[in-house]
């Protein structure tokens, strides 16, 4: 038998092996987050030379449009537009990936000939860079000149007899509930009038981002759901069928509730990708007229590395981190607790 002393000695050796990684993470993740936070409240407003003296929360005030001086400023307009876009993008992206991913998984789960082929085919976009994906979809959504004919996906709609679908994908219009419409007045009546404003609108640019991202990751969602479906025993479904449950009821009352943990993972993984989306926006032609396609991650990079406004860029980075932490911290806490219980 080994003695306690030996066991402790080995634990110390083990700890020494993992120590460099722990130090790297504490410096490059936590230390750097602290450093960025300090930059965001420092006097390092412009230029490449750092100035670490405390300067207050001016950068945040500008972004949030606090006070009369900043309310109408371009920083506030751009930032609120980028927040609106990334939240709209995330919601649309999550819903479309979950619906399509689950639907395809449910189809593939029904003893399909060529299942392996379809599965690989739906999944392959996952292996491709967002830059490639974005570039291809950018050309598919090229507006073209309507007088010379239809282009890209609009041409496909036309050939399918759906020629009435020909949006100008590059338009800078932000669609929202009109304040003077019936719905707008109804919302106003219950104190939700602010919902009927461009601040809660959606541009076609955001839709193009959503479709490209969905093309890339709906197959991945499908794979996660398919693995989940394979984990549900056939006996359970057979038993429900014998009891006279319809296929719809089996999905509604047995399968979907059993797949809840998969859905939770899907939501967390997809949302953390979409909240920090950056490269896709770059490849699809940037923020667009009036920032209709801007997102915080893009805003931060441009503000910091092109305009050399470091405190402002750092502040956007910190806000983006907080946004993602609201999602990740509860998730990590819950999954760690579950692991301890097991």
């Amino acid at each position: 038998m080994t003695t306690t002393w030996e066991k402790n000695w080995e634990k110390i050796v083990g700890f020494l092996f993992i120590l460099p990684s722990l130090i790297a993470i504490s410096v490059f993740v936590y230390g750097f987050i602290g450093w960025t936070s300090w930059v965001s409240v420092s006097n390092w407003t412009r230029g490449a030379a750092p100035n670490y003296t405390y300067g207050g929360f001016d950068a945040y005030a500008r972004l949030m449009g606090v006070g009369e001086r900043y309310a109408a400023g371009i920083d506030a307009r751009r930032f609120s537009s980028s927040l609106r876009n990334v939240i709209g993008f995330t919601l649309l992206f999550l819903v479309s990936c979950i619906l399509i991913g689950f639907f395809l998984a449910a189809l593939l789960d029904r003893h399909i000939v060529g299942e392996g082929f379809f599965r690989s085919l739906f999944l392959f976009p996952m292996a491709i860079s967002f830059i490639v994906t974005g570039l291809a979809w950018r050309w598919l959504f090229t507006p073209g000149d309507p007088n010379l004919g239809t282009v890209g996906v609009n041409r496909i709609f036309e050939n399918l007899g759906l020629g009435f679908i020909r949006p100008n994908w590059a338009s800078d219009v932000v669609y929202h509930i009109p304040a003077n419409s019936g719905l707008g007045e109804l919302l106003n009546g219950v104190g939700l009038g602010w919902l009927a404003s461009p601040s809660f609108g959606l541009s076609l640019g955001v839709i193009t981002l959503t479709i490209a991202a969905m093309w890339q990751l709906s197959g991945y969602t499908m794979a996660l759901y398919l693995a989940g479906l394979r984990g549900i025993s056939d006996d359970l479904r057979e038993a429900a069928r014998v009891d006279g449950a319809s296929e719809w009821q089996i999905y509604r009352y047995i399968i979907i509730p059993l797949l809840k943990p998969v859905t939770l993972s899907v939501v967390v993984i997809l949302a953390h990708i979409s909240l920090k989306i950056y490269d896709l926006v770059v490849a699809m032609g940037g923020v667009g007229q009036g920032f209709v396609k801007d997102v915080p991650a893009y805003n931060m990079w441009e503000t910091t590395f092109e305009q050399a406004r470091f405190s402002a860029g750092a502040a956007i980075g910190v806000i983006l981190l907080i946004l993602i932490s609201l999602l990740i911290v509860p998730y990590l806490t819950i999954s760690m607790r579950q692991q301890e219980e097991r």
């Binding site: 490059f28 750097f32 395809l104 593939l108 399909i112 050309w139 010379l148 014998v242 980075g317 760690m336």
Partner: protein, 301 residues
């Protein structure tokens, strides 16, 4: 009901209309997933004189290639231009070498490190290991925008800014969490009794790793290698911030070609095809493991 006494319906009866509907939907989805690939291939084999927005869905002309300098059935001029670039942007040839130098060492080192970390975190838990682990994991979810400013300053101070070694370093550091996660979850499936038995036989922390853990590791190693390879190859944010000019990997070079050859989108598409090819090949050859790697990324192991 009469059907209840009958044997359950055969799952493969191809004559029910719902089966046809399912296949119709699957084929329509196939068309959707292949659409961008089709456009990339179609356009990259065209010459500059053949690219026209209003004829973008027409296939490239075959055999009849009077103005094409690099032809064999198809015209390869777009690939030629993409590969060699222009005075303004580096070509995909140089970028390919940069991507290999960035990706291969980072992938191998982070896999080795991940295996070691996963081993300690699952079999040699130190005090507070279960508190430290989620704190490490948090590192894989952070938006890199929240650390980019200190990172560029630190890399400059270390003399690693604008170098491929700097990119290697960054990729290794920020892949510690995901590599540790996959290995830890995998090693958790190896019974602790095996480790205990080896200890009774006089094994120590090194010999147990060498003779028990490592021989059982190949499935997890393959998963992490593929996962890391695709992620690092496809990285853009670190590359665009850290690499400069001649150092740029393929994703950044592709973006620059898209900005530089704005009208010649046949060249853009050829460059896009070249960028996607390595990870696609890995996916085609090792797809099964790739899928496992994706599932491991869901925290459930």
């Amino acid at each position: 009901m009469a059907t209840q006494t009958a044997p359950p319906p055969k799952p493969r009866s191809p004559f029910r209309w719902t089966r046809w509907l399912i296949y119709a939907i699957l084929l329509a989805s196939t068309a959707f997933y292949l659409l961008p690939v089709y456009l990339i291939l179609l356009t990259s084999f065209k010459q500059y004189t053949d690219i026209d927005l209003y004829r973008m869905w027409q296939p490239p002309p075959l055999f009849n290639l009077p103005d094409c300098t690099n032809a064999f059935i198809f015209c390869f001029d777009s690939f030629y231009e993409a590969w060699f670039g222009s005075p303004a942007v580096i070509g995909m040839g140089q970028a390919f070498i940069n991507s290999v130098i960035t990706t291969v060492p980072s992938t191998v080192i982070s896999t080795l490190l991940g295996s070691l970390n996963g081993y300690i975190l699952s079999k040699w838990k130190f005090k507070y290991a279960d508190v430290v682990f989620p704190l490490v994991l948090f590192g894989m979810f952070i938006p890199y925008q929240s650390i980019l400013i200190p990172l560029t300053l630190t890399l400059r101070a270390m003399g690693l800014y604008a170098s491929l070694a700097g990119l290697n370093f960054v990729h290794i550091v920020y892949s510690i969490p995901i590599a540790a996660l996959i290995f830890r979850n995998y090693y958790a499936t190896i019974p602790n009794e095996m480790v205990e038995a080896a200890r009774i036989d006089g094994g120590n922390i090194f010999s147990i790793y060498r003779h028990i853990i490592l021989p059982l590791s190949p499935p997890a190693i393959v998963v992490v290698l593929i996962w890391q390879f695709t992620n690092i190859w496809n990285d853009f944010i670190f590359a665009v911030t850290i690499a400069q000019n001649q150092n740029q990997p393929m994703t950044v070079a592709l973006n620059n070609i898209a900005g530089s050859f704005t009208v010649q989108w046949n060249v853009q598409m050829a460059a896009a095809f070249l960028t996607a090819l390595p990870t696609l090949l890995v996916y085609i050859v090792l797809g099964r493991y790739f899928l496992r790697g994706l599932l491991a990324g869901s925290l459930k192991g």
